[in-house]
């Protein structure tokens, strides 16, 4: 134990010396000529250039090269860069990827940086979102923008069915669906839950109190009573023909179908605020609204999504990277970023920005963001979600009984998590051996 701490201290000291040496040799001439490398994805990567230009103006002599990476290739590119030792200094990371890159030890723990800085106060962020960046007792990222799911619904149809608002309990919600479908017509449905999208079902699971993964994220918890309750509710909606058992590739135009009241409710994210406003016909513009998700016994949880900014451990320019992170986290930059992209700001001060405060439909998101929970923080999560889709689709389409579908899902998931079980077991053994060996 002592030797290990000594080694760590030594490593830290040498790293510090290295940094000093690098800094000393770089500062006068080179170094700052070399631009700071910042990787951002998709549309964000395009838009952030504008913000970064102001950062450069504020920090003469500091140049930033933003590299824009398409979302579809981002994960591969980051991992390849990690293996090849060519990581950037600062990067945008989907917050479900944080556990993975932390497991690779690619991320700089931000605890010390946060302690030293007043510019990024954790209390100013949505707690559930901030939590996605925390693993054990260490913080690895700072939320940049947030994402969650709420209910988009046809207020006119619900109104005709006798509802002035979406009920807040599962029971009330289902009754509202039944009433809405009666109003909409025989061949219509109440809610669209695409069978190729996993978040709605997993959100119901979170709401019912399921941990989704049990035993420190080493086993599936899908056969457990909590998830079973959510699953029965979910499958029940299809069995009662309240939801059509189709995927969203089988529907040609979501907005048209919503306008034709093929379905009156849809669980989706903030990007659709703009899309619904743009794509629904003018006469329907007053007819749709958003609401926080109902839960089993009252207002329910939703997912804590979004992207974070992370400093890479391999970076030799961490102070500069941190400075850019601080800049992008300023409330006014967050508000500006929202205006440019439509991404909801992570920082709550930025919500007081006029555009968001004035939009009643955005308020459902703000309320929901106070009730969000993260997905299980294991690197295998993304792979697990593909298994969830495989196993639940057959149950939804009616061919597999829920029991065997969930048991099979747990089997698949346990197989993928075998390595993680072994690692944790080994770490526990190591700790016990170390504890036993100490005098």
């Amino acid at each position: 134990m002592k030797a290990r701490r000594g080694a760590q201290w030594c490593a830290r000291l040498s790293l510090g010396l290295l940094l000093l040496a690098a800094g000393a040799s770089c500062r006068p001439a080179g170094g700052r000529d070399e631009p700071l490398r910042f990787w951002a994805m998709g549309r964000e990567g395009e838009v952030v250039q504008e913000l970064v230009r102001d950062f450069e103006r504020e920090n003469p002599g500091l140049r930033v090269r933003v590299q824009q990476i398409p979302w579809s290739a981002a994960h591969e590119k980051l991992l390849t860069a990690y293996v090849g030792g060519s990581m950037p200094d600062l990067a945008q990371l989907g917050n479900t990827w944080i556990s993975e890159f932390a497991a690779l030890r690619a991320l700089e723990p931000l605890g010390p940086w946060l302690a030293r800085s007043a510019a990024v106060p954790a209390a100013e962020y949505f707690p559930g979102i901030w939590d996605t960046n925390v693993l054990g007792d260490q913080t690895y990222g700072v939320p940049w923008y947030v994402d969650t799911r709420v209910l988009f619904y046809r207020r006119d149809l619900l109104g005709r069915a006798g509802y002035t608002a979406v009920p807040t309990t599962w029971e009330g919600w289902r009754a509202a669906m039944e009433a809405t479908r009666r109003v909409a017509g025989r061949d219509k449905f109440a809610i669209f839950l695409p069978v190729n999208e996993w978040p709605p079902l997993m959100i119901l699971g979170l709401q019912a109190g399921s941990p989704l993964l049990a035993e420190d994220g080493t086993r599936g918890a899908f056969s457990g009573p909590e998830f079973r309750r959510a699953f029965d509710y979910y499958v029940g909606l299809f069995r009662a023909r309240l939801a059509p058992p189709i995927s969203n590739t089988e529907i040609s135009n979501l907005y048209q179908e919503f306008a034709r009241s093929y379905f009156s409710m849809y669980i989706t994210g903030p990007w659709n605020l703009g899309e619904f406003a743009r794509r629904l016909p003018p006469e329907l513009q007053q007819a749709w609204d958003t609401a926080p998700l109902p839960g089993p016994e009252g207002p329910g949880l939703s997912m804590a999504g979004g992207s974070s900014l992370v400093v890479l451990k391999s970076s030799r320019r961490k102070p500069d990277a941190w400075r850019l992170l601080e800049f992008l986290s300023r409330p006014e930059q967050q508000a500006r970023f929202y205006r440019l992209t439509g991404d909801l700001p992570a920082r709550r001060e930025a919500w007081r920005d006029s555009a968001l405060a004035a939009d009643p439909r955005a308020r459902a998101f703000e309320q929901q963001l106070l009730r969000v929970a993260p997905w299980p923080k294991v690197p295998e999560w993304e792979q697990i979600t593909t298994m969830v889709l495989d196993r639940t689709e057959s149950a939804v389409r009616g061919s597999t009984p829920p029991d065997s579908a969930l048991a099979a899902l747990d089997r698949d998931v346990d197989r993928v998590l075998e390595k993680r079980r072994w690692l944790l077991e080994r770490a526990r053994h190591g700790a016990r051996a170390a504890a036993g060996g100490a005098p």
Binding site: R105, Q383, L423
Partner: protein, 297 residues
Amino acid sequence: MSAPWRSAQARAAWLFVAPALLLIGVFFVVPVVGGLVLSLTDFDLYAIGDPSVARVVGLRNYHQVLTDAEFWNALRNTLYFVLAGGPLSVGLSLGAALLVNARRARFPGLFRVLFFTPVVTTLVAVAIVWRYLYHPRYGLIDHALGWLGLHPIDWLGDPHWAMPALILLSAWKNFGYNMLIFVAGLQSIPEDLYDAARLDGASAWQRFVYVTLPSLQPTLLFVGVLTVIGQFQLFAEPYVMTQGGPLRSTVSIVLLMYEQGFRWWRIGLAAAIAFVLFALMLGATLVQLRLQREERR
């Protein structure tokens, strides 16, 4: 021939092949052996961060591959591609070669170049154009089907049609290469064989069956083996066009390997898939050689 002389000759020979051996060793033998070792471990994402957590698992990866429904699905898709696309591709190249090589053909050089152009075009660019061609609403192909009074087909969105669409694209993209090989083979057939056949009153079809085909045997074998080997490694077409969809109907073995290796970073498992694929291709090639030999007897 004295012993020292022979050894000097041998040394010179070794010296001459050394560069080639070195290259093969570094770029072929070492990676293959490395891959084989990897396939016996559970090298994964965690091991990328800390190689000491990779475990030797023996044949577990192979067991997992062979018991995985995903693998069998990928194998089925790949065999579909090989068995339907292989003959189509070879037939197309042979036909094109006969046309280009025909005595009455005009501008044979021009056509040879035209037919060969798809081979040297990058697949990604080709795929973008073909995605437009296959588009159910704006695509040229469905438009043409409309003239014939047929219903439009959602080529890349329908699980039944996605693979035929890829086969068509791949056949069009690759037939030019085999065509050139066939042209070379055709030109090496002595003209007097045809003259003799003609004197005996053989029709054009008979000349093709009894003169051209037997003379082309070695070329056919070569083309067949190369085509099958190439087609087993189907990857770029589904990767660019469909990402394995719809409903996993275009996942090939190599695409599955890519997903396991570079999406989920289960490198050990991906390496095992690679060796299973190698065994399959070796088997298919041996079968072809055997068939050929029996035919010759």
